[in-house]
Symmetry: none
Subunit: 132 residues, 4 copies
């Protein structure tokens, strides 16, 4: 089971709509279960630096089959996964990466969002995930 | 002058339609005039290896403000730009990268397409470019 | 709107003058709105390691349309953007990167300065920015 | 003996003047004897892809203390240095990189120029070198 482009486009549309409603400009990325880029959109005026961050958030979520906000406490100094970001050519371990599940609850990919506060990023990613 | 997300989405839609009509599966990328990712779509079943190739084709076209098929003869052994691909963290210099121009003829970005023969890739990229 | 080479040269001249007045030796970089290198100067005897740092400071400022000193508190352990530096092939998130604005207040690029304390780096970058 | 920033700036000014006289737009880079960036200028409208190429040309010239056009025949298929470009995080081995010598004939750095044909690039680099 893997996300289709049609599903990824719906996820991005929902995320764009939520971002606009929150008056934010986001970079939005969807990857499949192989952590490969499926779809991407940069809203006009969104940060250039968030292109790569949104992609890395989505990849990180698929790499470990969990939302990136679950990783944040585990990567701090002294915590078990301290500096895990050095693997996989760079991870992003703060909020904004959310796994995408199909109707049966199976993970079929992930969405990564970057462009505002991490709280906003996470909300927009969740709005995208709920469009599945 | 820079491409908008709305324009980039129209370019990708036109490219997807052309690719489907040709019975091919393509990775399609649009970058802006700064060679930064603006939009991307991987058609279901399209090659994973073409994600990066489509991005590099689009970037290469913007880097040198020309379609990538114009570079192909110049980069062969013995030709003036032999092994230019080692620059810019990797270029792709075969067909499939096409500059995008606005109504005034100004370059506002580029499309990169990969997933079939380079002839097919170029045709699909051109179909995308014509949607501007 | 994008910075011109003539403007970038004025920015670098002002930064060099300030650095000399402070008896420091700086690496000074200017990038455009696409985070692409526009101009660079390494003062005689300035640290070699600051070549890349000055470039990354300027790119980081453009990537997120803010001075790098605004990022510093956000990237500490436990803070929201902890380890963001692993994105974009390396960011620098301490002071010394300052956005450049035109007369209308639009961001047209950024200056990055490295070679002394971060306080000195920031002062020199600001002197460059004021030359716009 | 190493190039000074003041000398590097004169080299770049001469190269810019020559490029303008030839109606070309160039990316121009000067490195020192350690192959470290000393000065750089991208003329308005010059190719973005030539930022990295001009830097790699200058570095390549210093790496092997010879102009890059001397390397071109040696890197072809079947020639002794075939695919040397894979070293040093990427070399550029076509014309446009020229060593810079002081009055005594000692190499003090190199200039790299990119933005037009390799013949034009080499001419502009030579004009820069003659300003020493």
């Amino acid at each position: 089971m893997n996300i289709t482009l049609s599903q990824a486009e719906k996820v991005i549309e929902a995320a764009k709509k939520k971002a606009a409603a929150m008056d934010t400009k986001m970079d939005i990325c969807v990857v499949d279960t192989g952590a490969n880029l499926t779809a991407f959109a940069r809203m006009d005026g969104a940060w250039l630096g968030s292109v790569d961050i949104s992609i890395k958030k989505a990849k990180t979520a698929v790499f470990f089959t969990m939302d990136t906000d679950q990783l944040s406490p585990l990567v701090q100094p002294g915590a078990p996964l301290y500096n895990i970001e050095h693997s996989n050519q760079g991870l992003i371990t703060f909020p904004g990466g959310v796994v995408l599940k199909n109707a049966e609850g199976t993970i079929v990919g992930a969405i990564g969002v970057s462009g505002s506060t991490v709280e906003d990023d996470h909300k927009v990613a969740q709005a995208g995930a709920e469009a599945m």
